[in-house]
Symmetry: C2
Subunit: 205 residues, 2 copies
Amino acid sequence: MKKEPSFPFPFDEYIKDAETFHGFAAPGLLVGGFMVNKAIRHFPAGVLYEALCETSKCLPDAIQLLTPCTIGNGRLRIVSLGRFALSLFNKDTGSGVRVFPDPIKLDPWLELKAWYMKLKTKHEQDLNLLFSQIKQAGEEILKQQPIQIKPEVYRKISRGPMALCPVCMETYPAATGIPCLACQGESPYVAWADICLEIKIKAKC
Amino acid sequence: MKKEPSFPFPFDEYIKDAETFHGFAAPGLLVGGFMVNKAIRHFPAGVLYEALCETSKCLPDAIQLLTPCTIGNGRLRIVSLGRFALSLFNKDTGSGVRVFPDPIKLDPWLELKAWYMKLKTKHEQDLNLLFSQIKQAGEEILKQQPIQIKPEVYRKISRGPMALCPVCMETYPAATGIPCLACQGESPYVAWADICLEIKIKAKC
């Protein structure tokens, strides 16, 4: 875990870390390993960088495994655009590199392309062939481009003072209004009153 | 990493893992360790559970360190409500437990309360005292409640087929329209044309 970037990428060792952290060595996590290892070499030692990931699927875990950027320490942002791409950028200037698999470069790797473009169902995939193609292709399928992150994306804004919500009696950032966002209706939970009502209705049916 | 739940919580060992993964043993990550360890005991071995976190600050990393749920494997969701709370729930039914620090129970722990309610600046905090209070208080400051996650939150929806964006020529989920979301204007990057223009303007000034 949290290996230094190296070339060639220690793929077999990374698979073990991927299994421990992610639960299994998913193809996206493996391709992601090569992507992170390529992007990370852009930065000289000592430069503080942050990460932006354009999908929440697999790729964020490659970043969390191979860089100091995690979702909880605020150095990894996910902007769900659905593109399998990541960027590492200087935390002070927003300048950095973006890495992604180039669909044209995937052409010689049929099983890898079929997985990437979702041309086969999971059941139809030949996992051994897919893993072997990911390992063989390595960084060959990747494209890198310079990027400049928008200031509003990389600049951090303090949440400001905390307050006690008069409804749930929990602490929350005062700036989001009164009551807290959850009690304003954004709660992901079903209210217990609704559940009791549903049980009663079902019991009567 | 990925320890089994245990009681009492192996706090000192967890601090080392927190430092490796998160970069430093942040107070939120330490309190979060106790929270995860409490919630996880709700589930008998073998029950597949997922996690929901109501803040992106620190707490998601405690979940990723101590459970099989990560942001990249889709078993950890973050709903940014600003409340320092987490839920673990049965992945098939959405039923589970929610754990959070109870502001009333924090009263005897002055340094811990000051940190939690942001009553002191970072400079004013006594970190040794804060860490010692977090360790001593352990689960005493926590409250647990049963929850039922809304089906629209815990049910997974397939992204559907992929397409090639005619603008950036990258792969993206076709269901998000033509071109891809980034090329529709949601890109977090400044266009290079804008940067060149800015440089030219500055050069003329």
